[in-house]
Amino acid sequence: MADDALFDFLHMEIVSQVTKSDPGSLQDGVTMSKLEQIGYSTGYRFIERLTKDLSRFKDELEVMKAICKDFWSAVFKKQVDNLRTNHQGVYVLQDNKFRFLASISNSRQYLELAPKYLVFTCGLLRGALASLGLTCIVTAEVTTMPACKFQVHLQRA
């Protein structure tokens, strides 16, 4: 269906435009934070529409579960495959067939270039959680394509 592909292509273009415009040695830091900021604003506003019809969340575990199910299905058309937590504010979301990585490769080829395609989603997650009242730091890692893990560290006040 053409609609799904539109988001994939747009994301690909955003990544390539942002990385192209800063070819200097500071590239990684500045461009990655630009990408993350784009994701942050998008996630912050998007969650307002998404949670419009959901019932009120009781605690942060409920928020994380809603992120894994409703948010992930709305953006990536599938749910998060695995959610783990240490009950102290650290959550790991594992997606075994991440949408943006699925079209890149199935093995370890292009592994070093993959992180660029996860940065926007890290920002998206951070923005969504910030809008729901949870400040956090989101990092991502990929060991085998197309699976990846997002680590969310919630900052307790």
Binding site: R45, K52, S55, R56, L132, G133
Partner: protein, 142 residues
């Protein structure tokens, strides 16, 4: 009839306040401010009671001789308060819910506006016009 509609942001800052009678605006700012406490009390109360269905609509917050206040909180911690005249007993619960739903939809649409940063005071004209219409239609229905 609804006398005043207000939006309170996540950090409890006022985002928007509109009343039918502009000279009473300051008084309603004070009432809105006191309603923040009632909203938080309701939220904590419903969290403790552990009921399965948790609604965004909070119901009657505060009732005095002159005014009654109804509250609504979104998942993004934005609070909406409607204040009505105590003398008016014609606005029923489901009508108030309908007004809240329209306000919530209006706010969601506003967040999609790139010229509005969530957390800032609301200055969009289309939003103000919508709220004015809601105030007017609720007062004409009573």
């Amino acid at each position: 009839m609804a006398v005043c509609i207000g939006f309170i942001g996540k950090e409890n800052s006022p985002l928007f306040l509109r009343c039918i009678n502009p000279s009473q605006e300051l008084q309603f700012h004070y009432i809105m401010h006191t309603c923040i406490d009632f909203v938080e009390e309701k939220i904590i109360q419903s969290n403790k009671s552990g009921s399965d269905v948790r609604e965004l609509y909070l119901g009657l917050l505060y009732s005095s001789e002159e005014v009654k206040a109804y509250g609504f909180v979104t998942n993004t911690k934005v609070k909406i308060v409607i204040i009505i005249d105590s003398t008016n007993s014609l606005l029923r619960d489901n009508e108030i819910r309908a007004i809240f739903r329209k306000l919530h939809n209006a706010y969601t649409e506003l967040v999609c506006n790139p010229f509005y940063t969530p957390g800032d005071p609301i200055t969009a004209k289309s939003f103000s016009i919508l709220v004015d219409e809601l105030l007017a239609s609720s007062s004409s229905s009573s």
